[in-house]
Symmetry: C2
């Protein structure tokens, strides 16, 4: 395989990853998967390949129409992030640099679980008050996981975290939101996935994120609720009622949820 | 005046404020205005009156239909906040306590400026990528002001900050978003305000927030842009282009904007 790919990947060329998700079973992030695969196919410098994560609130259809958008270029090496910033910046695409590639990748994956929950609320016609609360509390729980895994909390409050989360939860064209909406309307997961032409990566990601939450002992009530609705056939209204009627709490505290 | 109001305000009864804004000229927060007015009308214990701020992503029409919603009850005295939490909580209205009343009030006022900017983007048909970026960067700048004024950053990331900001920027019925949308379509402010039956408090609040930013030497580029569009007749597209084409920056740094 490397004989065919190698010529297109000169030794010094960094790889810019725009993939989002966490692999089931291995729980690897996209750049880790890329590194792993390069190693398996015999790429000589696989371990030393420089990688940058490019992510943000970027609905493809809007970018294609040159509508204004922003993104984050994240790498351990800030000079490399700046190089990507300068290559991809245009008058309608503003790129910020960030040194927390792990956080950007985790945010890009975990927000899809919250997007499914947002879709479920849409399917239940729960309204914008509920959806705003979901996004706010969802951000709290995905940040908590990220920090436990070595990411910076600030990254989750930035464009690749909050920014992407909002677009994904609000835009009608989002695939993960769409799956949630159909589930909220009472349809079966297999049926919904069967009729889609594209992949709703949030569905397998929900399994990975729940597994990561368990390993890192992080409380993620929204992720738990989405998991039980998707895979255990739990009634969405029951799951929502549970989230709304847990013990009264302070907004911020240790183990806050 | 106090003779008429006094009997309805027993000495020990706390006041729960649900008002949002910052008074022009005095730059007082709503609970400060209440305290000031109580003093002026001769309420004996005006200075010692206990106050709680109740705020969150709460579109009234949705609450009236018993759709699920959340809010924050904020007071210096957490026992008092818990009392309000227990009085107002229902199965469809989940209340969290918070000890940062200043932050909750500042968030509730400043988010209306960002909502006007969101409306301007809607008027320009700029899309959801742009709006998500606006909410994300808007939250950064209103947090910066809040922290400079003694509020806690976490409050801005919570339901009364981010949560309310999202609802206000996304919901079609928001008055401040509506004003922005009309401005984005090229209409004049006086004309838009003249035909509204309700108050768009974000318009006067924009003057107050800009003044606070100057006094506290905090950089607020979105607020500056909204101010120039509303009051100096600046072209919205020019203002947006400026925000998109400023010098390339890291996402997080000192004086980050």
């Amino acid at each position: 395989v490397w004989e065919r790919i190698g010529p297109h990947l000169p030794p010094g060329a960094p790889i810019v990853s725009v993939a989002k998700g966490i692999e089931n079973e291995t729980l690897l992030r996209p750049t880790e998967v890329i590194g792993d695969v390069l190693g398996r196919i015999g790429a000589g410098n696989a371990g030393k390949r420089q990688m940058v994560v490019l992510s943000g609130p970027n609905i493809a259809g809007e970018l294609a129409r040159y509508l204004p958008a922003t993104a984050v270029a994240a790498a351990d090496d800030m000079a490399l992030a700046e190089r990507v910033q300068s290559v991809f910046s245009t008058q309608w695409f503003r790129i910020y640099t960030n040194n927390d590639a792990i956080g950007v990748e985790l945010a890009g994956a975990t927000k899809n679980v919250i997007a499914i929950a947002a879709g479920i609320l849409d399917g239940l016609s729960a309204g914008n008050n509920a959806k705003s609360a979901l996004v706010t509390r969802g951000l709290v729980e995905i940040t908590r996981l990220g920090v436990a895994m070595g990411a910076q909390a600030a990254t989750f409050q930035g464009l690749a975290g909050l920014g992407d989360l909002i677009t994904t939860c609000v835009s009608p064209e989002g695939r993960n939101r769409h799956v949630g909406e159909q589930i909220g309307k009472g349809r079966k997961l297999e049926e919904v996935l069967g009729e889609m032409e594209s992949v709703a990566e949030g569905v397998p990601t929900t399994r990975s994120v729940r597994e990561l939450a368990r390993r890192h002992r992080v409380e993620m009530p929204i992720t738990e609720a989405v998991h039980s609705v998707l895979f255990d056939g739990r009634d969405p209204i029951d799951a929502l009622t549970d989230l709304m009627t847990r013990d009264p709490k302070p907004e911020f505290s240790t183990g806050n949820a």
